[in-house]
């Protein structure tokens, strides 16, 4: 692999990784606050992609409007799922909401298969496939769009979590749930907010990936969800910068792996990496050392 090929693969990897990161953020934020692996998160991403297709085809909307609509729809869906499937189980064993999440995931997959059929649906090419040359690398319009949208969304998230009142409350609640409540924070509202943000980011990921690979299917959330989950754990579950880093890291590793001739093992790369990283850093790249909550 020569240098220009390598930089091209890295660029492709970062693009793919940015979409993993968008999904991984939802896993990590939800885990940070209620210690739940939201197994339905991949399906939220899938539904987001379908809403995007629906907007572009049936309602003839532009891409940005469709993206926003998908994000909004998934926000509502994420908040509703938490209310119906997780909140009633908040005070039960840790396994109960996990099983509930798997149930929601199967439900959404099946529902979408009933509505749209099991076959992948093409995502209309609303963006032409023009290629731009920057130095040794070529970048497509879709890639530029993915990188810009993902960066903007992540910057917005960073801003909210760091400077906005509800974002600070999110940090407080994810560090110490009870004490946050003792400060007058409505923790339930913060949890709803977390689901809303995480789901919106996943929906954006779904639309962008649909556009990038020109296809959406009811099962697209399974492997993307699993990989994004790996990315979240790789980065350190509960850590927002960790999810971003983990996503990019995974995307680049996967793309380089494929370019290096391991395309048969494409989906194994994420898990192999995960195992290796966890062997050396059990709490992930940016994870905090494990501390018992008192």
């Amino acid at each position: 692999m020569d240098a220009s090929m390598l930089s091209q693969q890295i660029l492709n990897g970062i693009t793919l990784g940015a979409t993993y990161a968008l999904i991984a953020l939802g896993y990590t934020m939800v885990y940070g606050i209620i210690q739940l692996i939201n197994f339905a998160h991949g399906e939220i991403y899938m539904v987001g992609a379908f809403v995007g297709v629906l907007m572009v085809t049936v309602f003839q909307q532009g891409l940005l409007f469709s993206l926003a609509a998908a994000m909004l729809a998934c926000m509502v869906m994420g908040v509703t799922i938490e209310r119906i499937a997780y909140r009633p189980l908040r005070r039960s064993t840790r396994l109960a909401p996990l099983i509930s999440a798997i149930g929601v995931s199967i439900f959404l997959q099946t529902l979408m298969t009933k509505i749209k059929g099991p076959q992948p649906v093409a995502f209309p090419q609303v963006i032409n496939d023009a290629l731009y040359k920057i130095g040794p690398v070529e970048i497509s319009k879709v890639q530029i769009l993915i990188l810009i949208v993902a960066s903007l969304l992540m910057a917005t998230l960073h801003f909210i979590v760091k400077y906005v009142k509800i974002g600070k409350a999110m940090r407080a609640a994810s560090e110490d749930y009870d004490t946050a409540a003792l400060m007058g924070i409505n923790v339930n509202r913060v949890i709803s907010f977390t689901f809303a943000i995480g789901s919106a980011l996943a929906a954006a990921g779904g639309v962008l990936v649909g556009l990038y690979f020109n296809s959406v299917s009811p099962f697209m959330g399974v492997s993307a969800g699993l990989k994004a989950f790996c990315a979240a754990v790789l980065g350190g579950i509960g850590s927002i910068p960790g999810a971003m880093l983990g996503g990019i890291f995974l995307g680049v590793a996967e793309t380089l792996g494929i370019a290096g001739g391991f395309d048969m093992y494409k989906d194994a790369i994420a898990f192999t990496l995960l195992i290796i990283v966890l062997l050396f850093r059990p709490t992930g790249l940016l994870g905090r050392p494990i501390q018992r909550k008192v």
Binding site: K168, R171, D178, A181, L182, M183, G184, V187, N188
Partner: protein
Amino acid sequence: MLLEVNNLHVSYGAIRALKGVSCQVGEGEIVALIGANGAGKTTTLRTISGLIRPQEGTITYKGKPITKMPPHDIVSLGICQVPEGRRVFTRMTVLENLEMGAYTRKDSANVKTDIQKVFQRFPRLEERKTQLAGTLSGGEQQMLAMGRALMSKPTVLLMDEPSMGLAPMLVQEIFAIIQEINQAGTTILLVEQNAHMALSVANRAYVLETGEVVLSGPANELADNPEVQKAYLGE
């Protein structure tokens, strides 16, 4: 009475932590709740704050029941707590911790001046305002936990063992500040194992033993009571 706790029963599974605790706190008072490890002091405060639902019993504030209210609404009413072990948000800055204390307030302009007031009371916090709270010393964390609770402008401040783990000098300082806060108009319900200090600042006190109030009365009388002296004052 401003705050009335009536016949509170709380269990953790099979463990009965409170077996009919009653106590009252009048406006402007400092009331101490003393007792040994495991007596149920923390449980009482957490139940008042709404973090634990009692099996039986009522809590009223200004004559209205608050027993079934969620914790954040109780804070909005004016009851705030400095929890046991301080529980500052270690990954947030000192300033952010104070802002969290003011979470229920809508008057953001006054919040700024109140942060300044906290800094006047605890100058060491101002020097460290951009530092993560986790990097503060135990004493500084206690000051931050108190400042944070004060940011909600509480009518009643519940304090759970503010002297825990602090050097004697600092304990004196913390208790002096508790008295100042009280003189500035805040009612205080103080949980302490340091019965000596607690009784010296309190107006009235309750002695809790294995989930029951076994003694109560004016603090100076309790301090002179031979049983209390023997069990809690080490005399």
